[in-house]
């Protein structure tokens, strides 16, 4: 490897190029209550690639996503982001990561605006950007209401509105299409496609066949079982 490239790779994100993989899962195995869900799972994703994880109920889709984020510690294997072990470089990884789980992670006593601001954590966002995102999510009229008055689908839209504002490159979404109406599904598809076009990475689970036009790799967890 030429010295210039070595030097570059020491200094963070500059090294992003087409050939190197941004996300690498190596020999991942996860146990749940003494039961091995899957083992020897290896996947590599480069910039602009998406991965759709399918499998029957209980196959370990959610657990895989949680292990990928570092919320669940795997029985074996590791996850690398920019060629660095994510458990060692946790803060760097987390600043590039956006995870949306089954739970919407909205505080029911806060309104949409406050929730969105809290959800984006340490990222600096202006009020206009938040209004704009809420408007696009179809929540413009409801932004002053505490979220306990919102329907399931509206709460889902609110947590998905983070996708419009985040600067994370890796999106990990657990069943993002649940509770959405057909219009919202189209809206989400367009966000995800734009993210992939912008060289973002996407890992998601969904029981429905995906309707977006971008090609996305499929990983069947049932077949992975050792």
């Amino acid at each position: 490897m030429p010295v210039s490239r070595l030097l570059k790779s020491k200094f963070g994100k500059e090294k992003v190029n087409e050939t190197c993989f941004m996300l690498e899962i190596e020999g991942l195995a996860v146990e749940r209550e003494e039961r091995l869900l899957f083992s020897g799972l290896s996947v590599k994703l480069s910039a602009g690639e998406g991965l759709h994880i399918v499998g029957k109920n209980g196959a370990g889709k959610t657990t895989l996503l949680r292990a990928l984020c570092g919320l669940t510690s795997p029985a074996a294997g590791l996850v690398k982001w920019h060629e660095q072990d994510t458990t060692e470089f946790r803060e760097e990884f987390c600043s590039d990561l956006l995870y949306l789980g089954h739970k919407n992670a909205n505080k029911t006593e806060l309104n949409c605006r406050e929730n969105l601001r809290l959800a984006l954590g340490v990222q600096a966002i202006s009020d206009e950007e938040i209004s704009d995102a809420l408007h696009k999510a179809g929540l413009g009229m409801l932004s002053h209401l505490p979220t306990r008055f919102l329907s399931q689908g509206q709460q889902r839209r609110l947590s998905l509105a983070r996708l419009l504002l985040t600067d994370a490159t890796l999106w990990v979404l657990d069943e993002p299409y649940v509770a959405l109406d057909y219009k919202a599904i189209e809206w989400l598809d367009s966000i995800l496609e734009r993210h992939l076009n912008n060289k973002g990475l996407l890992v998601l689970t969904s029981h429905q066949a995906l309707t977006m036009t971008a090609t996305i790799r499929v990983l069947n967890l049932g077949e992975q079982r050792a």
Binding site: C69, L71, G101, H102, K103, A105, K107, E109
Partner: protein, 219 residues
């Protein structure tokens, strides 16, 4: 950035004033029950005052700890916090400080009033307030470990109490005996040195212990 984390908790507390009021109300009523239940003899009341106020503060703290992580776990925000690009122990330290400012500091501020109610002298009230000022953060820091360990369980409240109260004994003894010593004109430097040491140690170690406990809970 740390300020952002701090103000997050503050915003949430502002929307949940009833929690704070409950804790304070509990403290006030618990302290007021002692004279009603025991005797109205001023000398006797003066003797039990430090113990009564400290025990009430202790139970109020445990009561408040119940809500520290449980709601965040239920609505998924705890997961999101664990994925923030900030060292988890630091994030938790900020949260615990915010929690103390909301639920512990008011107890400290009310303590002089409670002291007056029991007929304590001025310098005794000062010692009582100072002992609570150093003591209640330790109660919160230690208590958070218990709260983090039991957050996923049903009826965690009772279990937390059982786990924590034995740990609180040394602090209770130091706090109350500081006030009693002041009543008898004995030097209280030793009491405060020990409590200060407990505060520093728990300030450094507790966030790491809480982080580990929460990771186990979320695993």
């Amino acid at each position: 950035m740390l300020w952002k984390l701090f103000s997050r908790d503050m915003t949430l507390f502002m929307h949940r004033k009833q929690d704070v009021v409950t804790v304070l109300g509990f403290f006030l009523i618990a302290v007021a029950l002692f004279p009603l239940g025991i005797s109205s003899d001023p000398e006797l009341l003066k003797t039990i005052a430090p113990g009564a106020i400290w025990i009430a503060a202790l139970f109020s703290t445990v009561l408040a700890l119940d809500r520290l992580f449980s709601e965040d776990l239920d609505d998924g925000t705890l997961e999101q916090q664990m994925l923030m690009p900030v060292p988890i122990a630091l994030l938790l330290l900020v949260r615990l400080v915010a929690h103390w400012v909301i639920t512990g500091l008011p107890l400290v501020l009310l303590a002089p009033l409670m002291g007056l109610q029991f007929g304590l002298a001025f310098n005794e009230i000062v010692i009582l307030t100072l002992s609570l000022l150093i003591g209640t953060p330790v109660l919160v820091l230690l208590g958070a470990i218990g709260a983090a360990l039991t957050v996923g369980l049903k009826s965690s409240g009772g279990l937390v109490t059982l786990l924590l109260l034995p740990l609180y004994v040394p602090l209770l003894i130091l706090g109350t005996s500081a006030v009693t010593s002041a009543m008898n004109g004995v030097d209280v430097t030793a009491h405060f040195s020990l409590m200060g040491a407990a505060l520093l140690v728990s300030l450094v170690l507790s966030p790491f212990a809480v982080a580990t406990a929460l990771k186990i809970t979320l695993d």
